[in-house]
Amino acid sequence: MFRNQYDQDVTTWSPQGRIFQIEYAMEAVKQGSAAVGLKSGEHAVLATIKRAPSDLSSYQRKIFKIDDHMGIAISGLTADGRILCRYMRNECLNHRFVYDSPMPLGRLVRQVADKAQLGTQRSWKRPYGVGLIVAGHDESGPHIFYNCPSGNYYDYKAFAMGARSQAAKTYLERQFETFAAASLDDLVKHALHALQASLQDGELTEKNCSVAVVGGDMPFTLLEDDSLAPYIAAIKEEEPAAAAGMEAEGAAAEGDAAAGEGGAAGEGEQQQEQQGGGGGDDGGEAPMEQ
């Protein structure tokens, strides 16, 4: 009855040198709603789509402030995300206490990744089922990092994760070269456009999405509801123009994304050998980066 006897335990290598439990944990990230992160030369921006489990409930928070100079967007198991969030907040506070200065992002992200690695090598643990996009600003400028359940981390110019994020990724890949010089407002709009792409036919409102910005001249700030409304309105106005440009390739991209979820190869996964038709990877992050 077992399709695969090597996928039961995180401490079991498959004969091909893969660890399925880690790859399954990475699937959890795709169950969460989409989140994107991008940066210019001055600022970093996070944007997420929020879900509400029922009409009577509030929307689940996806963006968490870590410190004045950074925050995270999570996708996957929210509870796991909150553990990592608490850990990061703690590290930042300790750093401020000891050194009286904000913690460099790269260092914290590496620590989080090392922490995640532990869960991939012990039979009595499991990998975290959450992806983090860390956005922040330190001495070396703005940063977008992606922390993966596998214990890998990546330094990105722009990134998207979560459900149907391939469409957002496609948008970002087409636009990211213009981000370096973009203004903060433009950056936020790009983020919303990317989200809109991954929302397919759903409508982006100030209720179902939230945005956060951070830069050298401003602390990490969450934009929600009223403060977000003008941006939503602005991209709605741009939409017809932008949509026209998106349509042709956008349709292809979305088809791609749909196919990716159906189990066929997405863009990034050609790098990993396929075994037994393992679940589709939505591109970008090769499972274990071998």
Binding site: Q5, Y6, Q8, D9, V10, T11, T12, W13, S14, P15, Q16, G17, R18, I19, R110, A113, D114, A116, Q117, L118, T120, Q121, R122, S123, W124, S150, G151, N152, Y154, D155, Y156, K157, A158, F159, L172, E173, F176, G268, Q271, E273, G283, G284, E285, A286, M288, E289, Q290
Partner: protein, 248 residues
């Protein structure tokens, strides 16, 4: 070595009837599928080079590091699972630090290599753990001169004049054997490594090369090869390869 389907290959704590621990072999497999990592010991230092596949064009340059310092005089290039690699590097840093605290001087290469070997071997002994999916090339330059070591997932440790691990290891090793390592300076070494990495790289996909060295020129500090030198070496390597193609 077919343990597949027998059930004897599911745990590090299980021997197969013919005396193998298959999980160790499988971990080695993870290394064999990874990007190529090359190390050579030249007359004045050690050069390490890693082939990094670019998984997204939106990645920043130098993301996904493969070479890491472990101390001022020692550093590693890791092939295999990147996250495991960092874990091994952290251990190397801790060992180097601890040695310095106790003995007041830098940890000799063979001690560090041996300690890392023991560390990685521990993960082959218990059912609760899995072996590291990492082979680490260790470059050191201490009192005993420049040295190159290889630590495998099984915990086995070797000292090499030059070696390669990862996907293109066989081709790379053949090329390394042709080099006159005893007469080569590190300046020439980085070019040789760049050339080998380009040679064994599977043409279709782009890759980023990461070069690091510990040598006289770097003040016996382990560091990434300065960007300009690395670019020059890569350009020279490409030119040399093209020239060879023309000859053929």
């Amino acid at each position: 070595m077919s343990g597949i389907g027998t059930g004897y290959d599911l745990s590090t704590g299980t021997f197969s009837p013919d005396g193998r621990v298959f999980q160790t072999d499988y971990a080695q497999k993870a290394v064999d599928n990874s990007g190529t990592v090359v190390g050579i010991r030249c007359k004045d230092g050690v050069v390490l080079g890693a082939e990094k596949l670019i998984i997204s064009k939106m990645l920043e340059q130098h993301s996904n590091r493969r070479t890491f310092p472990a101390d001022r005089h020692a550093g590693m290039a890791v092939a295999g699972v990147a996250a495991d690699g960092r874990s091994v590097v952290s251990r190397a840093m801790a060992e180097a630090n601890q040695y310095k605290s106790i003995y007041g001087e830098a940890i000799p290469g063979h001690v560090l290599a041996e300690r890392l070997g023991s560390f990685m071997h521990l993960f082959n002994l218990y059912g609760g753990y899995r072996p590291y999916g990492v082979s680490a090339l260790l470059a050191t330059y201490g009192k005993e001169g420049p040295q190159l070591y290889l630590v495998e997932p099984s915990g086995v440790t070797y000292r090499y004049f030059g070696t390669a691990v990862g996907k293109g290891r066989q081709g790379a090793k053949n090329e390394i054997e042709k080099l006159k390592l005893g007469e080569m300076s590190c300046r020439e070494g980085i070019q040789a490594v760049a050339k080998i990495l380009h040679q064994v790289h599977d043409e279709e996909k782009g890759f980023e090369m990461e070069l690091a060295w510990v040598c006289e020129e770097s003040g016996r500090h382990f560091q990434r090869v300065p960007q300009q030198l690395a670019d020059e070496a890569e350009a020279a390597a490409k030119a040399a390869l093209e020239a060879e193609d023309m000859d053929d």
